[in-house]
Amino acid sequence: MAQSITTITPFCVRRRRYSAVLLVLLLLFVAANYLLSITLHRTAMVSGWTLFLLVVVLTAYNLRKRITFLPLGRSSTWLQVHIFVGLLSIAVFGMHIGWRIPNGVLEVALAGVFLTVALSGIVGLGISRVFPRRLSERGEEVFYARIPRVLHRIRTAVEQEVLACLREDDSTAVPEFYSKHLRPFFERHHHFWNHLIKSRRSELKLLRRMDAYTRYLNSHEKQAIEAIKDYVKVKSDLDFHFAHQKILKTWLFVHVPLSYSLVVMAIFHIVLVYAFAGAGS
């Protein structure tokens, strides 16, 4: 056990190497910024252009992902560079705006978009490290696109159990319980946010309710409820996968379009700076 804790994996080595490079670059930038400031240069111009360059490099990763058939390096290497350049850009951004809220509508909007992109990137990084492990720990692996089909299959199987009770026992106990408590559960995905915080409270509540209801059932109906309980667990696992995979798929719909907006807004900002703030003089 101790060995596994102290093992340094190739990923650790890579992370440390990139962190060291990031630290060196950051120190160099801070030193250059300081030197420029004591020699009365406009540090905002240097930090601004540096930041724009970093944003362009960051956005280029999305283009790399589209051009898959050229030997442009591994996507994983690009992602590592993307992460560390992203972290560097946050520091450069802070220095560029002087660690205060900018004034002016465009500047506030630009800062807001930058921070949203940065934040969504950090969140994306976090979930892409945590969620895959969660998905492989619980339930069966299922394609996101096939989830509706699997859901339909589970619901059909449950309805077969319910109809069998109606047919064979001439009793409405299970069908009544199904329409009141189970049908909404099996019809669509539930407890999205609960699943994201790994809470099983709702599932357990439903299972307890089913247990409590068995006192009103005959032996065949009890068997049917037990079978349905298994389906509840399977459906709950499916909801878990749905919630996690949905987040994994949709966070990029925030991050990527806003990144392109950021580039456009940054270009507009540069034009304005050169046109009206005397940057060119």
Partner: protein, 575 residues
């Protein structure tokens, strides 16, 4: 009492090589000069006729027909009844171009061609151009139908003038070494005139050899001379005998035992055995050597895969796996060498399906390895490759080892493994694959999972590719340097043999379309069924930079792994 559910169990004759082989044709086969040396009683027996009916067929060839192609996996041998067959003897570098033999041209696209894919990939899936159907202009010419389809050389006279060749005359055998060893054909043979051949599957050849010492001796002699010597020479164990030790190599080639285990292997038996093995039942795997026995010699694997295991409580625990070129039993012989107390085998060895092994007797091991002055093992005790391999495998989770070996995923030279603890299910790999193949993904991000590792349904480019056996046109082939197994779309007739034979579901039959998205239909059949083609991963041979899937994974979750490289597996698994 017979009821409607009573059926007849299939026998050998129900699964005939050529279903159209009638009694008259069998009479012709029985009378063939190929079998003149057979025991007359056996030659006239029903048993012999049944063997021929099940495993032989008559092949009529026309001038320029390619009979066997260098590099293809063979499962049958040929006997020439009439007509001459040419063997290309040109060195590989100046030999016939691969396109001429119906193989795919694997030239990487230029930068411009690669870039234009961004705009030229087709909107509809599985679009095919003018080379995909009969009558279309194609670099590959073929004739016949179904399993009798043959590809032929377009300019026979030119080929005979340009490429060095020798002739085989009626009465001669060829192809038996590749058939019995389940190895690749070593030369290309083509007909130069109208002729007739007997083609015998390896099972039939084996049955005949068992009953005829003459044929057995002849094939055994040719095998030892041509194939076994080269195999021993190539082995690192005998590398010190390569220069100037011809006599030693000859003695070795004549002194070793050749052993075949397991069935030749079809997908069905393969899957059944894999299921049993996963349940801890190794009874379907032939026991080659048992733990605790004293070693009679080194088992060197020539083709196939083997499991190395040892007793663990009431079961067997897999310690390692072996493939072609690897050996078993050397450590024990080395440990016991020079002492009065022999060392028993520390592990058992089992064949995972079909396996051909060469057993080098202990006396020859001692003479040419342990006591030979040029040998690296002379008077030394050092870790052998087998020990190092076994130690390396132990660094992978035991469950995963059992899973990979039990399901024979260790057969792959480019097995697609996905670490599900890192995979974000983004499908960048699938998109990259599709973008590199005219918008058609050539694998499914789906497959069995064990310990968070998925073995995806992607062609593993097996070391022992049973998909290539029985392809009637040789459309599926492997690069001569043991590279990718690829399908030539032009010569694929869509018979589905490769797809059915692949035990890993890695080959998919697809219905092809024209540029308007309409299915191309076969007008030669009444149903006008859509034309199908076999498709699979080709490791992006036409793309710069290799497999796009692996390069596209942002999270280092995917790898294409040569499973014989245990160190790489361990490194990836423990990263």
């Amino acid at each position: 009492m017979t009821t409607e559910s009573d059926v007849r169990r299939k026998t050998q004759s129900d699964i005939a090589f050529d279903e159209g082989l009638d009694e008259a044709a069998i009479d012709e086969l029985v009378a063939a000069s190929a079998f003149e040396t057979l025991d007359p009683e056996y030659r006239q027996s029903d048993r012999f006729r049944a063997t021929l009916k099940a495993h032989a067929r008559i092949v009529d060839v026309q001038p320029a027909d390619i009979v066997v192609r260098e590099g293809d996996w063979g499962n049958s041998a040929f006997f020439i009844l009439s007509g001459r067959i040419a063997v290309e003897i040109e060195p590989p570098e100046s030999g016939m171009p691969q396109e001429m033999l119906g193989r795919r041209r694997d030239r990487p696209k230029s930068l411009l061609q690669a870039l234009t894919q961004l705009f030229t990939n087709h909107r509809f899936p599985e679009f095919r151009g003018r080379f995909s159907f009969a009558g279309s202009k194609s670099a590959v010419q073929r004739r016949g139908a179904g399993n009798a389809t043959r590809i032929y050389l377009q300019d026979l006279d030119g080929v005979l003038k340009k490429y060095a060749h020798a002739f085989l005359e009626p009465g001669q055998f060829f192809g038996e070494i590749a058939a019995l060893g389940r190895t690749r054909r070593t030369a290309t043979l083509f007909a130069v005139e109208h002729g007739r051949l007997i083609e015998i599957r390896w099972q039939g050849l084996r049955d005949i050899m068992r009953r005829d010492e003459g044929i057995q001796a002849l094939i055994d002699k040719r095998f030892r001379e041509r194939s076994l010597r080269a195999f021993l020479e190539a082995s690192p164990m005998f590398s010190h005998l390569r220069e100037g030790h011809d006599d030693a190599l000859s003695e070795l080639a004549n002194g070793v035992e050749l052993k075949v285990f397991g069935e030749y292997g079809r997908a069905q038996s393969f899957r059944k055995m894999a299921d049993e093995a996963m349940a801890g039942d190794f009874s379907g795997e032939h026991l080659i050597a048992s733990q605790g026995d004293y070693p009679n010699g080194i088992v060197m694997i020539r083709c196939g895969l083997a499991r190395v295991s040892h007793k663990f409580h009431h079961g067997e625990r897999t310690a390692s796996y072996l493939g072609p070129g690897q050996d078993f039993g050397f450590n024990e012989i080395m440990a016991g060498h020079g002492s009065n107390k022999p060392v028993s085998l520390q592990h058992s060895l089992r064949a995972l399906g079909y396996l051909m092994a060469v057993v080098v007797p202990t006396a020859l091991v001692e003479k040419y390895i342990l006591n030979h002055p040029d040998s690296p093992w002379h008077h030394k005790v050092q870790e052998t490759e087998a020990t190092g391999r076994s130690n390396a495998v132990q660094r992978v989770d035991q469950d995963l080892v059992e899973f990979l070996v039990g399901n024979r995923f260790v057969n792959g030279t480019a097995t697609m493994l996905i670490d599900m603890d890192r995979c974000t299910r983004c499908d960048d790999c699938v998109r990259a694959c599709a973008a590199s193949h005219d918008n058609n993904p050539r694998f499914l991000r789906n497959g069995p999972i064990n310990n968070g590792v998925m073995v995806a349904n992607a062609c593993m480019h097996c070391r022992d590719p049973i998909c290539m056996i029985e392809c009637p046109t040789g459309a599926i082939s492997r690069k001569l340097d043991d590279g990718e197994v690829a399908i030539n779309d032009e010569s694929c007739i869509g018979c589905g043999t490769c797809s059915n034979n692949c035990p890993y579901d890695a080959i998919r039959m697809v219905e092809i379309r024209d540029s308007g998205g309409l299915f191309l239909r076969d007008r030669s059949v009444a149903s006008r069924a859509p034309i199908t083609k076999a498709t699979k991963c080709d490791l992006c041979v036409e793309q710069k930079g290799g497999p796009a899937c692996q390069r596209a994974c942002p999270h280092d979750a995917m790898i294409r792994l040569d499973m014989s490289d245990v160190e790489q597996l361990v490194q990836w698994h423990n990263q």
